[in-house]
Amino acid sequence: MPLSKQYWKARAIRYFFMTCAATSVLIVVLVFLFLGKESIPFVAKHGVGELFGEVWQPVSFEDEQFGILPLVTGSILVTLLATILAVPFGVVSAIYIAEMASPVEREIWKPVIELLAGIPSVVLGFFGLVVVAPLVKETFGLTSGLNALTGSILLALMAIPTIISISEDAIRNVPKSYKEASYSLGASKLQTIWKVTVPAALSGIVAAVMLGLGRVVGETMAVMMVTGNAAIITFSPVESVRTMTATVAAEMGEVPFGSDHYHALFVIGVVLLCMTFGLNMIAQKVLKKYRIG
């Protein structure tokens, strides 16, 4: 009798956990379905060609235009710049923490870096608006500090904790025997790090970068506050850009329900989801490879 009671208890707990797990899967599926359902009317009405236009002018008395090209290039520009800033910084920091810092130092560094990940993006955005933007403006002698560069600096700050955390794990998981072999061949510490440890942890570092990028592409609030949000196609870091996320966030509030503009915003959502989904897939693939190796 007591055995049976325990059996039922275990069963109940199992089902509870299963329901929780199934819920998140269900939500992902629902999000995909919902985005698809809301974006299809736009494609059906205007065709895919309209989306490749170079002008995003969704509220207009003359001619509403829904070219998402400036938004896509805006997102890509900001993401690339953020990568260029965050990757060297993040990877070098990870190497330091994993290989050179003393255990006491490591205990201090890691939590502080993880604290950086916890800063709400609106706070970071405000910091960007009043501190980073004027600084960028002064430093480069620009007419305005609200541009792609300022946005990417903030995004780099957000990506760095992810990159450091995961890269550091990867570097520390490199088998000790690799390093010992390297030392026994007479290599110095720096030589060992660059020639043995980092290459061995490379797939983990790549995955870390990908996950960091995933966060950067989807970030909204901070970029919306500091990039100036002008929808122009440019590859200059000192021009103002408008990202896909900022567009959806800024325009969703006003848009008349069920209008072309409304459906166009969902199309942007689909494009954005595909981009982050792709990045995460690549990251997971790379991470898996590194775990087996």
């Binding site: 007419t143 002008a230 329900f257």
Partner: protein, 288 residues
């Protein structure tokens, strides 16, 4: 097989629990209906909150909840029947009225005040007045240098509100004559951010409610309707009297003629006390 049935039973149990809790909450609200919701214009959110506060002070048993989100959000809420009053800084569009009527909502409008839209530049910009035509050229990007409108040489940096703002639509319709903004216009998410940017940037130009033009390092421009018309500075008298060319009414929309608490609140807004609050918040009351 048996495990599937058990699993289904668990799901049904949890589901019905959730529905039961949901219903339990819903059935409470109609009983306590001494409250109304106001949703809409971000421009008006300060004003509506101040009015709601004063109203609740006078009637402690009544609740008035105010949320912003933009005029469009408020109008959508009115159409969907999720708000009692919609505050809007633009009049409802033809499309929106049609959509409302399809859903059996009859929008009725009341004006509770006026807002003058100021064209703002940095204090150190030597330009003092512009014609409506010049303002249009600046914001559409056909004039790109301040020297062309009597200022110092320098590239004009256009600052606009986001397209979710009633101010944006109003400016586009009435100043740009329904034309589009230059594509390189920087779209700011709030008037506060716009003011912040203009006060640090000599070549910036932007627009916003007249109440915002009195802070920071900001100068409001005199506006001429035509080249030979007098240059008018945005003040309470010029906005109400219509001498200042860029001004707009602030609307409240209800579904049909207001009744009960909704009507009581609207009457309060247009009372002497309500109009005093309109002025205190920085708008122009309907009666001087």
């Amino acid at each position: 097989m048996r495990s599937i049935i058990r699993y289904a039973a668990v799901v049904v149990a949890i589901g019905s629990l959730a529905i039961w809790l949901g219903c339990g909450r819903k059935s409470e609200s109609p009983a306590a209906k001494a409250s109304i919701d106001i949703k809409g214009s971000d421009t008006m959110v300060n004003l509506m909150s101040a009015l709601a506060e004063a109203f609740m002070k006078a009637h402690p048993d009544k609740q008035v909840a105010v949320t912003g989100g933009g005029s469009g959000t408020g109008i959508a809420a009115l159409i969907n029947g999720t708000t009692d009053i919609c505050a809007s800084s633009r009049s409802m569009q033809e499309k929106e009225i049609d959509l409302a009527k399809q859903k059996n909502i009859q929008p009725k409008e009341v004006v509770i005040g006026m807002d003058g839209l100021a064209v703002m530049v940095n204090k150190s910009n030597p330009v003092d007045s512009l014609t409506l035509e010049q303002i249009k050229q600046l914001f559409q990007g056909t004039v790109t240098d301040w020297a062309a409108v009597g200022g110092n040489k320098g590239e004009v940096l256009i600052h606009s509100r986001e397209s979710n703002s009633g101010t944006y639509v109003y400016f586009k319709e009435h100043v740009l004559n329904k034309g589009d903004f230059a594509t390189n216009a920087r779209l700011m998410t709030s008037t506060a951010a716009l003011v912040q940017e203009i006060s640090t940037n000599v070549n910036a130009v932007g627009y916003g409610g007249e109440a915002y033009g009195k802070q920071g390092n900001i100068k409001m421009l005199h506006v001429r309707k035509t080249a030979d018309a007098p240059a008018v500075y945005p003040t309470e008298e010029t906005v109400r009297g219509g001498a200042y060319p860029i001004s707009r009414p602030l609307f409240l929309y209800t579904n049909g003629a207001a009744t009960g608490l909704t009507s009581e609140f609207i009457t309060f807004c247009n009372s002497a006390e309500g109009q005093k609050i309109v002025r205190e918040v920085g708008y122009v009351p309907m009666k001087g």
